[in-house]
Symmetry: D2
Subunit: 258 residues, 4 copies
């Protein structure tokens, strides 16, 4: 059967990325407490395509993924990318994996337990010489507006927000550690179950810790600056302002070695 993808291409256009996108797939990731966690990911996989080939072989991406989906960790991702490079005769291979990741949280006063969902991501890219690996978390938090508190007789507007932290590190950093950085930087963390005693605690804690999105971004940045394993980060905080129908946003990116 003819291999149309393998045809010679004379348009002389190098494609940095060709591959598959938005694949929903069951995977197993590392879990600091329990060893591993089953979840459902959205996956993108790419290689580059030299000028002289017409197309890539899309089915091979999933064949390789099938071998590695049960052990998504930094070392195996590297191996998977190397295998993709070989199987697809490419110089660069890249993968992007995003998935819900659950932690059991205890309510601050009642101690009631429930799961909270965090959006985690892993990105890996490999050439012959270089391996780039990025880890990210999206953490739902509560922000209470310092300006609103200061100028108002009583109350202060507050809202759900999300803090995104993406890092590159020399040693393993757990999702759990990044999540903790984000929750400590917030006016308050959020929970799935809160009894009345907990709700009182969270309400008062948030009022005592007013934070702009700018404050949360900076507080997280200070923690990432102090963590010597991390050499690059991007922090984004977006709050679903309760007094507006649009969002407030703050972002800081830093390559620490500079």
């Amino acid at each position: 059967m003819k291999d149309v993808q393998n045809q010679k291409d004379d348009r002389n256009v190098y494609l940095q990325r060709v591959g598959i996108r938005n694949l929903s797939y069951p995977i197993t990731v590392m879990d600091k407490t329990n060893g591993y966690q089953d979840t459902v990911a959205k996956i993108n996989m790419y290689v580059d395509l030299p000028e002289h080939f017409r197309g890539t072989h899309m089915s091979r991406f999933v064949e390789v993924l099938n071998k590695y989906r049960l052990g998504i960790d930094p070392k195996l991702i590297r191996q998977m990318l190397e295998e993709l490079r070989t199987k697809l005769k490419a110089s660069t291979a890249r993968v992007e994996i995003e998935f819900p990741y659950f932690l059991v949280k205890e309510a601050p006063v009642s101690g009631q337990k429930s799961f909270l969902s965090y959006t985690c991501r892993i990105e890996g890219q490999k050439t012959f010489e270089k391996y780039d690996f990025l880890v990210g978390v999206g953490v739902p938090i509560l922000t209470l507006c310092p300006c609103s508190k200061e100028i108002s007789e009583y109350g202060a507007h507050n809202q759900r927000a999300v803090a995104w932290i993406n890092i590159r590190s020399r040693k393993l950093v757990w999702f759990e550690e990044l999540i903790e950085y984000a929750e400590q930087a917030a006016s308050a963390p959020v929970y799935t179950i809160l009894k009345r005693s907990d709700e009182k605690y969270i309400t008062e804690r948030a009022y005592e810790n007013p934070r702009f999105v700018e404050d949360v971004a900076r507080e997280i940045a200070l923690k990432l600056n102090a963590d010597e394993r991390i050499f690059w980060y991007r922090v984004e905080v977006e709050s679903f302002e309760s007094i507006h129908a649009h969002n407030a946003y703050a972002c800081v990116t830093k390559y620490k070695e500079e």
Copy 2:
């Protein structure tokens, strides 16, 4: 050229709805203040398909829409549905139109003007004897939790929420009127521009008017009960809880004639 859609079908399955979905189209709707407003809609259009026809003629839906898109009002929607019934040899025709609709809002203290976007919808359905017409609005609002306020020393969690009102009425009810019902029932309305004096006002107003989603739904219901033009309604309120990553919800549906 053969008309495959017109082929006789012997599977004996009547289809209640066949048609087109998720069409993005420029339309003009009625505006209480300015006469009309240009916007961009997502449109679904359907007819029913008798047992003995194999398919409907999808291109005719858009041909009919083209004639009416510049005058989306209750009377013309009725005419459009009647034309769909004829052109597609159907007994029932149906249209669903959803679009952003903008009002100029003045900030409560500074008087600063800005646009706020509301999600409006129109649904019409027509058979030989009956014409059903529904109008809906989605209104962003602020809700402040009465329980949190009551049990906490200071502060109270609050958040962005959305109130959905859908109605059937004997006489024209403007989007603007439904929007006002929703905003009055909230702990506070939301705005696109708020200066500090406005932010103080909204923060304090919300603290003085704590409302569960249940309260907002009921307050809106009271207004709709009192409006004699309206004979059916559904009110839904969903708040993006600032202390959780999930939402709180309340819904009431009423056919007033019963």
Copy 3:
């Protein structure tokens, strides 16, 4: 601590549904082949709220869910709803659960195995006398246009589509059975891995089996009509037309006992 939710309400508005929405939670569902399958669900839970109560107790929904999340089956859902009714002093309890569900599929010629993701849903509602239970699947399929094939010298436009089947039944019907009904009714099923021999097979099979969305809906309806366990169904087919930027749609609902 004061229980604001328990306050007497004198607005005299009964709320059909109050509760929580869009909760992301880890659950375990029944799997015909393997016994069970871990997945991640979006969950809505509601009760009704009598006129005389001000609010419901949102944290109790998740407390009940925690007890049942590892055994999502028709019998346990019933028990869970009964417990919700009691715990929340409600007459009606309702749950809606939607999740990705994976099956291993073998490519038709090469036999290569890969996972395909289906969107499954379960809805349960319970009052004192009645228990309503609904099962649904969303199945990605391929449709090839019979009109395009008939009128063209060569080729025929085809596209990804999705078939939604929702049923109520007297006996257990597996997701796997509904998925098979949808895939058999399509021009061809879709797969995650297809080698060239498989791609040839699917391309030719689709060309030999041209189907409008109307055809797919009717073919599925015939199968559901013949399945005596099922007493109600709704079939919806929506195709992402390759020649348009909007979708084609067909829907049939039937209560078979009538």
Copy 4:
């Protein structure tokens, strides 16, 4: 009233971007045929925030937008960004605007006219010395698989796809021109109304012009290479594969001056 945002910050963290996101706003953009077109945009606006300020003033973004929203063109965007820099005492200002943009298209044989929606975007960023301006279009197209055509006895799988073109140019390039590049590179363009004669034409044209996503990306790249106004581009093509539930993707980025 105290200005909390203006407080001195001693955390020593510079924020590259602070501002507002996901604002829905009515705007007027340039239209090659009709002079201008009203539409509804999603808008993000940012400035940078020096180490020593605690927060930015979010309301000023919308005040500035209000002055420019009726004339979204490259020159006025530049002026708007300069005004943002001054009003917010920032060194960098940035805006991202995305909106549906409609063209009237004539069906290829019947000549029937209808609107087709394209997703357009504008990004501008300004510092004291530099002004960066980017224009983008998202174009729905049809792709027919060359491999499937080659290996199959009859037929070939095809599907809706979208081509994204983003460019930086020395002179004005109209959305209309980029859209034409994308549609010419596809197996066939898509339309909102197609009569049977048109459907035959499009089906056959697509079969005669099989294109991988890789081919479409390269064909567009050749056109952009030849257009001397353009000095940077990114082309992305993503097809909603009819034989899979995931997508195929190709991307090429080029800075032509290198």
